[in-house]
């Protein structure tokens, strides 16, 4: 049982009228992993996640979540999963502690919610009304609500929307702790840095289809993207002097800045050596590695979606 995938979907389809929002998506999520789903606006992430939660009825394909079919076993499944939805709300006048107390009462099994409040930095807001919380505080409350039933599998649709940079980083630690407690995490995000640092595996979807699925490292390596070395000099340098260096693919002078592209891990050493050899003064030298954002843009294009 424990080697069974937690989620298994094959050929998942969901159409709205003529639009195939999810068009034959298949993948498995393993027990104990942090699985990320990324894709442009309207790619079908929320539709996919809500078909898995049983909130929307898939039109086709096989779905197994914790061994259950969300279309048939909705109530049994909802006992065992947690969900933070991209769009939802609570009554404006409900207090933070009342919301947690209320949601805990919906489940056969629940955990004390005070520690959750503490971990999510909401202890001071326990008596505040939902309508008076800031966007990021509401988001953290919804994350706490997703965990009150001690779920085996938890879904976060746009995990860190509304969170400031500090809160986002502590959220990553929090999610890692959730995983360490034995839960499987399925999340969507628009922050590629978040997917890269947090997720064990990332699926990229576009136009309702799976475009790639692998670990962030493999996705980046698979892109075969170039590394870059960027620096500035007093006077323009001759780009020719770098072209002959091992691994260099191209050189781009931009005013007093120069960008050297290459595939070699020693690229930066070669560039610095060449500069020192010719006694050229340089400053602001930095290297830029290809990251998941490059993979994302390469797979899904750069134009804005509807």
């Amino acid at each position: 049982m424990s080697d069974q995938p937690v989620i298994r979907i094959s050929g998942l389809r969901k159409t709205y009228g003529d639009l195939a929002a999810v068009d034959g998506v298949s993948f498995e999520v393993r027990r104990g992993e942090i699985f990320g789903l990324v894709g442009p606006n309207g790619a079908g992430k929320t539709t996919t996640i809500e078909c898995l939660e049983g909130l929307r009825q898939a039109d086709g394909g096989e779905i197994q979540v914790l061994g259950l079919d969300p279309r048939r076993d909705g109530p049994a499944l909802r006992e065992k999963i947690g969900a933070q939805l991209q769009e939802s709300a609570l009554p404006d006048r409900i207090r933070v502690w009342e919301a947690l107390d209320l949601f805990a009462s919906f489940y056969a099994h629940s955990v004390p919610w005070e520690p959750l409040l503490e971990q999510l930095g909401l202890s001071e807001k326990r008596n505040a009304a939902f309508g008076k919380l800031s966007g990021g505080q509401k988001q953290r409350l919804f994350i706490a609500l997703a965990l009150v039933n001690d779920p085996a599998l938890v879904f976060f649709d746009e995990l860190s929307t509304g969170l400031d940079p500090q809160a986002r980083r502590s959220m990553w630690d929090f999610i890692r702790a959730v995983r360490s407690a034995g839960k499987t995490v399925f999340l969507t995000t628009h922050y590629m840095e978040e997917a890269e640092r947090l997720c064990d595996r990332v699926a990229v979807i576009d136009h309702g289809r799976l475009a790639a699925l692998d670990t962030p490292e493999n996705l980046i390596r698979g892109l075969g993207a170039e590394n870059r070395v960027v620096f500035s000099t007093e006077a323009p340098v001759d780009p020719g002097m770098f072209r002959a260096l091992p691994g260099v693919t191209r050189v781009e002078p931009v005013g007093e800045r120069t960008i050297v592209y290459g595939r070699d891990d020693r690229l930066v050493v070669e560039v610095v050596n060449a500069l020192s050899l010719d006694r050229i003064k340089f400053r602001d030298l930095r290297t830029e590695q290809a990251d998941l954002e490059d993979v994302f843009l390469a797979l899904t294009g750069r134009e804005m979606r509807g």
Binding site: A89, R93, F106
Partner: protein
């Protein structure tokens, strides 16, 4: 029915915290009673069949409270919770629709009863309100009236797509009933034409039944009222069960 009691308790607190809803349920009927009670007093009067103004108004204003909670509060609250996405969030939990609906019903029932009790206390303390009926009968008639109006409210909440449209629809139904059914204005002063039209409004049997039971009538004279209200309860509950949506 897990979650039912906690949700009912939470809904009750939320209702009390909502100033407009609690004003119209708890305070407004008392204000009406004091305003007109001071003008007309509560002396026995042949016009009201030997009763005073306050004796007939307390059960009649109770019908106003039932209309306020059942039609207006219920329809607006459920429709707005759906519009904002509160119900979507509930849908992602094992909470059953029946537990949700039951919690709304019990909350509104308690609020309505609270409004009626305050009205009765005001009548007793300020105007020596007379009571010639049987407590159990009045309570039963009150409960049946609530059932009919809550069923109506749920159907409105199910049919109307937004809180705004639910509010407008509820007001359109509520105001004519309030003035024509004998709830706000004693039926004795309404022209015969209005009264024959008002027979078809669901608040009219509520006023007739509650006034009658309050002043000592038995059930026999009110078979038509009971049938009307029971029919509304049955038909509209069935419609409500089919039109309820989480989103």
């Amino acid at each position: 029915m897990r979650g039912f009691w906690k949700l009912a308790l939470t809904e009750l607190k939320l209702y009390i915290r909502e100033p407009i809803a609690s004003f119209f349920t708890l305070a407004f009927p008392i204000m009406l009673l004091v305003l007109f009670g001071n003008i007309y007093g509560n002396k026995p009067n042949a016009f009201f069949g030997g009763l005073g103004f306050v004796d007939t108004s307390v059960p009649a204003y109770t019908a106003i409270i039932i209309g306020t909670t059942g039609l207006i509060s219920l329809a607006i609250s459920v429709a707005s919770q759906r519009e904002k996405g509160v119900l979507r969030r509930y849908k992602a939990t094992p909470l059953r629709p029946l537990a949700f609906l039951g919690a709304q019903v019990i909350t509104l029932y308690l609020m309505t009863a609270g409004g009626m009790v305050l009205l009765i206390l005001t009548g007793k303390i300020l105007y020596h309100l007379r009571f010639a009926g049987n407590v159990l009968n009045v309570w039963t008639g009150f409960t049946l009236s609530c059932a009919a109006f809550f069923a109506l409210g749920f159907v409105l909440a199910g049919l109307m797509p937004t809180a705004r449209s639910a509010q407008v629809a509820a007001m359109i139904l509520y105001y004519p009933m309030m003035f024509l059914s004998g709830a706000a204005i004693p039926r004795e002063v309404l022209p015969a034409g209005v009264r024959s039209f008002a027979k078809f409004l669901p608040m009219t049997p509520v006023v007739n039944l509650l006034r009658g039971l309050w002043n000592g009538d038995g059930w026999t004279g009110h078979g038509g009222d009971v049938l009307f209200l029971a029919g509304i309860t049955l038909v509209f509950s069935l419609i409500a069960a089919r039109t309820f949506r989480w989103e």
